[in-house]
């Protein structure tokens, strides 16, 4: 047989597209052409495949060889097609029978010595296969845990080409021992490690309940980062499907090591403040990769020293904040990544960072202080519901032997509060308090009279904008859910107003 057909998967964002790899060997001068819009890495596959085949003792066709990847219009990239191309060449040369590979997905990069190297995006690729009803796959050994997590696809993993050929010829599977269970490593962070910080703890909890974006302001060393890092531990664990989606995004980004596979803990991503808009949002020419805000999907995106970010980087977050999705358009098409995250910004109160309390240690001029937080643009701040001051813990707090509330206790409260909100919004398009549309706040989801009277007075004194008014109302709902109040009243609204004011109090 001089024609072979092998199936593999190309990635388009976090969507997998089944690719048919056809290999045709015909008489003529030795030559190799690769069709189907390959990028450079894929174009170079010829040399890898050739060396790998020859070094495993398999033949390389000295004939006219045509390899076609269809659908032909889709731009294909990366090295994951090495292995299917190699197998296609062997089938076309009659070394292995076509039948052994029918109805299977094959993925893997080849090393020159025939070792099969890991590729990115195995998880979304196999999910796509599963959707197409292809329930069998050959994957690199290094990706096998990822492959096993796609329940219905039966994956076999190989570490090198000769093992795979042995398997195809004799049905002998290499002995790798028991597959280690992907385990949830004990999360080492816990809220109980934070000394004091009543106000900030409160802000964190309300933020977690209603999905309210958060701005932490405080001098260096007071625990802003420490607090933010612990937010995932008080968020409800990811559902199975959410965990799968998060794992798929991380798989495409090829940062799998940093996070146990299929972890239920919401991710925590903290890009450095020098990061670029592309790194934040995602991008790339051929292989479009997700950015920090998609890696934070389902979890927390924490930006320390937010005012130090170059202008534009933070504002690039406005679209994902609005739509919970990142759309990246390239010549090759538009790719969508999920980006539903809780934004947590941290900032110093002024450039020197010591403008706190009476501000005695601060060396900044009043203009500098005023300008500093203004670097955060209005439209962005507009999307942030809570502004919390993180003060240095007092001597009393530090000396106290009594640990603060643990994450577990807080998380239990968050989960039950979220349940109340879900029940209330079960017929609505949203399920979090932070997502209540302004019009609905004035109609269906109104607070009690005493609460709104308080806010109206503040509005009259021009201490509150219309925008701020709605934010306070949303926060009031989250606080009510925590307190177990059916409808927010004066207490909740006042507490919400405090959480909202943060900045003005400075």
């Amino acid at each position: 047989m001089s024609l072979a057909r092998i199936k593999s998967v190309a990635l388009f964002g976090i969507r997998g597209v089944i690719v048919d790899i056809e290999v045709d060997i015909s008489d003529g001068l030795p030559g190799y052409s690769l069709l189907g819009l390959p990028d450079t890495a894929l174009q170079e596959s010829r040399e890898r495949v050739r060396s790998a085949l020859l070094n495993t003792g398999a033949p390389w066709p000295n004939k006219r060889t045509t390899v076609s990847l269809s659908p032909a219009w889709l731009h294909k990239s990366g090295s994951g097609f090495d292995l299917p191309i190699a197998l296609g060449l062997l089938v076309a040369q009659g070394v292995i029978p076509q039948g052994r590979l029918d109805g299977q997905i094959v993925m893997g990069e080849l090393a020159l010595d025939g070792a099969i190297r890991s590729v990115r995006g195995v998880l979304p690729a196999l999910l796509a296969a599963q959707e197409e009803g292809i329930l069998s796959a050959v994957v690199p050994f290094a990706n096998r845990l990822e492959a096993l997590s796609v329940g219905r696809v039966n994956s076999i993993a190989f570490a090198d080409l000769s093992q795979l050929l042995t398997y195809i010829h004799d049905g002998l599977l290499p002995d790798y021992g028991e597959a280690p269970q992907s385990q949830e490593g004990a999360n080492l962070l816990d809220l109980s490690e934070v000394a004091g910080q009543r106000g900030a703890r409160d802000a964190l909890e309300v933020s977690a309940i209603g999905g309210h974006h958060l701005l932490l302001i405080g001098p260096p060393g007071t625990g802003k980062t420490m607090l933010a890092e612990r937010i995932p531990t008080i968020l409800p664990p990811l559902t199975q499907s959410a965990a799968l989606e998060v794992a798929a995004v991380h798989s495409v980004a090829d940062r799998g090591v940093e996070r146990p596979l299929l972890s239920r803990l919401p991710p925590f991503v903290a890009p450095h403040h020098t990061t670029t808009a592309t790194a934040m949002i995602g991008g790339g020419a051929h292989a479009i990769k997700p950015g920090a805000c998609s890696l934070a999907h389902g979890g927390v995106l924490f930006i320390d020293e937010a005012p130090e970010c170059s202008p534009g980087v933070l504002d690039a977050l406005r679209q994902p904040l609005e739509s919970a999705i990142v759309s990246i358009s390239r010549v090759t098409g538009t790719v969508h990544f999920p980006a539903n995250f809780l934004l947590v910004l941290a900032a110093n109160p002024c450039p020197c960072g010591r403008f706190t309390g009476k501000g005695r240690g601060c060396t900044c001029s009043s203009v500098q202080i005023r300008r500093y937080l203004q670097r955060l643009s209005g439209p962005l701040l507009d999307r942030i519901d809570i502004r919390s001051f993180v003060e240095a813990p007092s001597r009393l707090d530090l000396a106290s032997n009594e640990p603060g509330e643990s994450s577990e206790v807080v998380r239990t409260r968050v989960i039950s509060a979220r349940r109340i909100a879900e029940e209330r919004f079960k017929n609505e398009a949203w399920s979090l308090n932070s997502k209540i549309p302004a019009s609905q706040l004035r109609e269906r989801y109104r607070v009690r009279k005493d609460g709104s009277a308080f806010l109206h007075a503040e509005l009259d004194h021009e201490r509150l904008s219309a925008r701020g008014y709605h934010k306070v109302l949303r926060l009031a709902w989250s606080i009510a859910d925590r307190n177990g109040t059916t409808t927010p009243g004066l207490t909740e609204v006042e507490a919400a107003y405090q959480l909202r004011r943060g900045i003005d109090a400075a």
């Binding site: 003529g28 001068l29 030795p30 000295n62 004939k63």
Partner: protein, 119 residues
């Protein structure tokens, strides 16, 4: 080119031409040479002119002999073929560029790998 290689090349060409005769082709010319290059064998088979490049190798250490014929070389063969057709007044004739590899790694049993219509 050393003397050894010349002998090997000539033996290869002889082997290929007897192979051609065996399939019913008639060899018209051997080693037709002009300034631009050389055609090893020219034959006629069922009304088609065959222009054949013969590659002889004594071992496969350096890869398959036909791998030495790249796109450029194939196109040069094509131009040489047209030159022969023009100078011999065969305009409009059907023609084909073929390649043959003769593997001498087993000296007593040379193997011919014949590729028809390589362009």
């Amino acid at each position: 080119m050393g003397r050894k290689e010349q002998v090997l090349g000539a033996t290869g060409e002889a082997l290929v031409s007897s192979y051609l005769e065996s399939i019913g082709a008639k060899v018209i010319e051997r080693n037709w040479r002009i300034k631009r290059g050389e055609i090893d064998l020219i034959a006629r088979h069922n009304g088609t002119l065959l222009f054949i490049e013969v590659k002889s190798r004594s071992s496969d250490k350096f890869g398959h002999p036909l791998e030495a014929i790249g796109k450029d070389k194939a196109l040069r063969l094509q131009r040489l073929a047209l030159a022969w057709i023009a100078t011999h007044d065969h305009w409009g004739a059907n023609y084909r560029i073929d390649c043959a590899a003769v593997d001498f790694s087993d000296r007593l049993n040379p193997v011919i790998d014949y590729r028809a219509g390589v362009l």
